[in-house]
Assembly symmetry: C2
Homo-oligomer: 104 residues x 2
Amino acid sequence: MRAESLKGHLDALILAVVGAGPCHGYAIIEELKQRSGGSLDLPEGTVYPALHRLEEGGLLRSSWSKDSGRRRRIYELTRRGQRELGVRRSEWRDFSRAVESVLA
Amino acid sequence: MRAESLKGHLDALILAVVGAGPCHGYAIIEELKQRSGGSLDLPEGTVYPALHRLEEGGLLRSSWSKDSGRRRRIYELTRRGQRELGVRRSEWRDFSRAVESVLA
DNA sequence: CTTGACACCCAGCAAGACTAGGTATAGCCT
DNA sequence: AGGCTATACCTAGTCTTGCTGGGTGTCAAG
């Protein structure tokens, strides 16, 4: 997967995973890998800063949990995050259709 | 259309348009707009540098034409460009499928 | 003769994702 | 006990990429 393919779509992917249920960063990475059949194998250096950006922007909210001695930061969608997920989904459809119509 | 959506896919779009027949820069912009139903309305400052990059990279070849006093730089695919177009198309399919499987 | 469409160009900027490091806990193997 | 792997987090700096905002010049229409 070309590195830049992702640009501008990462937020939508993360919002979608967290939208399916509260989740911590490492698990989000695993989930993306699994759901995509291995083709979305994102480095931590990509995902963690994105999570911070999304929280900063008010789309995610986080809290620390200490399950079995391991600290985890659990993320969930804010109301704005839910709305934004909808917007991003439909933006993806538009973009995807547009590219398809050119590549076809 | 979010500005960053495009990132990493512009080359594929341009290669696809030029792949359909030799074309000059301005016409490529028009063609992208038309084929996408208006949603891919790229600024010249995006497309011209991309064309130069692609020629620099050996995927496009260009020559000047002077039709009716107006100079135009006509681009066409090199053999490597044709191969690359195929690669990019299949990369887009993979990426698209992956995103779809996460957003679904 | 000015406005708009056509047609090209580029320097500098901003944003996004990755590289390459770092910290620390838990469990397994030898 | 020591080492290795997986889990789990973090960040400064880098690179690529597309856009902004400027510029040049031709041609046709009003």
